[in-house]
């Protein structure tokens, strides 16, 4: 009973070959069949574990080359894992290579039938469903023309329509939910959700956090073939966006986060804490506390903290040097604090990151993003990042003696007791 995808400890190794590896029988014979074995291996995926329940959509996020497509292909049975285990229960359908089996010279209908067979339907089922497929693809009047007369969009629509009409119990989608125009996209997403509601286990690769937020029940973030986060979409998107910062910095491995020594590391940030946590209102004071662990003495390190808006705009960058704080640190643990007396930020999401630099900014010793964003509670609509206490006054100008009229007060935020 029940379908689903269970992946345990999955690892996939790729081999790279020397560039002068013989490609033909002739070359190989001339070189005495040498140089045919792999030059070296690398792990495209390692220690990947997760599961997708029936009726659940898992979103997979990650940069290019993080191993997303490799993961999806392995689950689709393309290639064999070198480590770990994939368990699939149910018939698999996939939107990996859309229009894979299409032939230019055959008509849409001929291609439809063959593709449905390739997708795992019997001839009878394919014939019974072709009307529905054509209708979904909105190709009623073109279906008997050769595919070569189709636009790219039409071909993709047909391919997509075939793939989701093959009754999969497990569905793999590789960034194809952006096929066709907006209307068709909405239809595709609705259809994928409908499949989910029928108990289909779905995995979806996406580059758009917005889509993952809207569609997925859970999300997985891959970084260089490892699982960097596996949780509810919001948390994972936070991690993903933090990593998307344009000046992405090298980071120490997770083990250093937990305070374990790492080869070559002097000092690591072990935590970033905010005071107060949620709810945070515009104008509240904020304390950012960094904890660190030091393994080797570091002379005059610089601690830096940056607050940036979810759009990527930097709101504040400050460092311990500005306060003339330049202690030398001996092995051990410690904490350092930045107190902001008030933070006049507009409502929205802000990301906080911290770094430790060596003296004179020579190198970055460690860097960390706070995974959860700082959410500043909504303020009355004002464009921009800042929302300081503001007061509009109208200086009336009239013929005659000047007089001041303190009239309109537009400070909506509870004014903190600063003065």
């Amino acid at each position: 009973m029940g379908h689903g995808i269970v992946v345990q400890n999955l690892g996939k190794k790729f081999s790279t070959y020397a560039s002068d590896r013989p490609r033909t029988i002739m070359q190989a014979a001339l070189r005495g069949f040498r140089g045919l074995s792999a030059a070296h291996d690398f792990w495209a995926l390692r220690n990947v574990s997760f599961e997708v329940q029936p009726g659940e959509i898992l979103g997979v996020l990650g940069h290019n080359g993080a191993g997303k497509s490799t993961l999806l292909r392995l689950i689709g049975g393309i290639g064999r894992p070198d480590e770990g285990d994939i368990q699939l229960r149910g018939r698999i359908g996939a939107l990996l290579d859309l229009g894979a089996g299409f032939h230019e010279d055959l008509t849409g209908r001929e291609n439809l039938l063959v593709s449905a067979l390739i997708g795992g339907l019997t001839r009878e089922e394919a014939l019974a469903r072709q009307g529905e497929i054509i209708e979904f693809a909105e190709l009623e009047s073109f279906i008997d023309n050769p595919i070569r007369t189709y636009s790219t969009g039409m071909g993709m629509r047909l391919a997509f329509s075939i793939a989701i009409h093959t009754d999969p119990q497990l569905l793999l989608v590789d960034e194809h939910l952006s096929v066709g125009d907006i209307g068709f996209q909405a239809k595709c997403i609705a259809r994928v959700k409908a499949l989910r509601d029928q108990g289909c286990a779905i995995m979806l690769i996406s580059q758009t956090p917005k889509q993952v937020r809207e569609v997925c029940d859970r999300a997985l973030l891959l970084k260089q073939g490892r699982v960097a986060a596996y949780s509810d979409p919001e948390t994972v998107i936070g991690e993903y966006e933090a990593a998307m910062h344009p000046d992405q910095k090298p980071r120490l491995p997770q083990s250093a986060r937990r305070g374990e020594p790492v080869l070559g590391a002097q000092i690591a940030l072990t935590g970033i804490e905010l005071q107060p946590q949620a709810p945070f209102y515009n104008g509240d004071p904020l304390t950012v506390e960094l904890s660190y662990r030091c393994w080797k003495p570091v002379s005059s390190p610089i601690f830096s903290i940056r607050i940036s808006h979810e759009s990527g705009a930097v709101c504040l960058t400050t460092n311990s040097l500005t306060a003339g704080l330049q202690p030398s640190i001996l092995p051990g643990v410690g904490r350092i604090q930045l107190q902001l007396e008030r933070l006049d930020l507009n409502g929205g999401k802000y990301f906080i990151s911290a770094g430790i630099h060596s003296a004179q900014w020579q190198s970055l010793l460690d860097y960390q993003d706070l995974p959860q964003p700082l959410v500043v509670e909504p303020t009355p609509v004002i464009e921009g990042l800042l929302h300081p206490p503001a007061r509009w006054s109208w200086m009336e100008h009239s013929p005659g003696p000047e007089k001041q009229q303190p009239v309109v007060d537009v400070d909506p935020a509870p004014s903190p007791s600063l003065a």
Binding site: F14, P22, R23, T24, I25, M26, A28, L36, R73, I75, G76, G77, I78, G79, R80, R91, I92, G93, A94, L96, D97, A100, G101, H103, D105, L106, E110, L113, V114, L117, I118, G119, G120, L121, T122, R123, E124, A126, L172
Partner: protein, 275 residues
């Protein structure tokens, strides 16, 4: 209740199993008919092209060996050559196409759940369709040559099955080699050209060489077909025909088929992983 559940599970299993095979069969026929459509779709003569090639070859050989060098002629010359040509054409075209089966179908191989090992079978089956559709022409030649068909004709499907399985097993291996060495298809062309001349398509093997020719599986197959179709040929009366080498070939094919299948699977997996 328990037993009922059990029987329910068995029936479910059976239906799944049979659905599985129905699906495979439908996929095979679907791909074969697409192949044939693609070959003749845009030509005026359509499927007639399929016959033109062997008929032209037949004309050439009939002219060279029937008119220019008549002393080598064998009885029922037209039927003799045409039967050999049909068998050879099926073997050669299927093998050449199937050698590219992995390399030329990347998109299909990357389709989850697609049974990759069906691809060479599709090529050989396409050749089989051509072969079967040409048989009436052969019968026409046999009738013209005044050959009386015998009970041995019933063996024809068996021989076709053997040729089918043998070609598929060979195609598995060649398609797998083609993944590592992309010039296999060209190399194969040259080798097949040589093999053609050693397959006795348009001549009869002199007695002293027969033992050597027995190592050529295609020669064996062609001789088998002729033993069935041209039984009046005094050289090989059907009852006296030595079937032993063909039985041996069947044994070799049975052993080669699973082996080739495995190599093919491995190489197709390797192929899709190469980026």
């Amino acid at each position: 209740m328990v037993s009922r559940q059990h029987s329910l599970a068995t029936t479910l299993n059976q239906t799944l199993l049979s659905r599985h095979w129905v699906q495979r069969r439908d996929l095979l026929t679907g791909l074969v008919s697409r192949n044939i459509k693609l070959l003749y779709n845009r030509s005026v003569l359509g499927i007639a092209w399929m016959l033109i090639n062997p008929l032209m070859q037949l004309m050439v050989y009939a002219f060279v060996f029937g008119v220019l060098l008549p002393n080598n002629a064998v009885p029922n010359f037209t039927s003799f050559i045409f039967s050999g040509l049909l068998v050879w054409t099926w073997f050669q075209s299927a093998l050449t196409e199937a050698t590219g089966a992995i390399v030329q179908n990347r998109a299909l191989i990357r389709q989850p759940g697609f049974p990759v090992s069906i691809l060479p079978v599709v090529n050989v089956a396409t050749g089989l369709i051509h072969f079967v559709l040409s048989l009436p022409i052969l019968l026409l030649f046999l009738w013209k040559d005044g050959v009386q068909l015998q009970w041995g004709l019933l063996l024809l499907p068996l021989l076709m099955l053997l040729q089918f399985a043998f070609t598929v097993s060979l195609a598995y291996v060649l398609a797998a080699i083609n993944v590592t060495f992309r010039d296999t298809q060209h190399t194969l062309g040259v080798l097949l050209q040589m093999l053609f001349y050693f397959s006795a398509v348009f001549y009869q093997v002199p007695g002293q060489f027969a033992a050597i020719f027995n190592f050529n599986p295609i020669y064996l197959l062609i001789q088998g077909y002729r033993a069935i179709l041209l039984p009046v040929d005094p050289a090989v009366p059907v009852a006296d025909f030595n079937w032993l080498p063909l039985v041996g070939l069947s044994g070799i094919t049975l052993a080669m088929l699973p082996l080739g299948h495995r190599i093919f699977q491995q190489q197709s997996e390797r192929f899709v992983e190469e980026l």
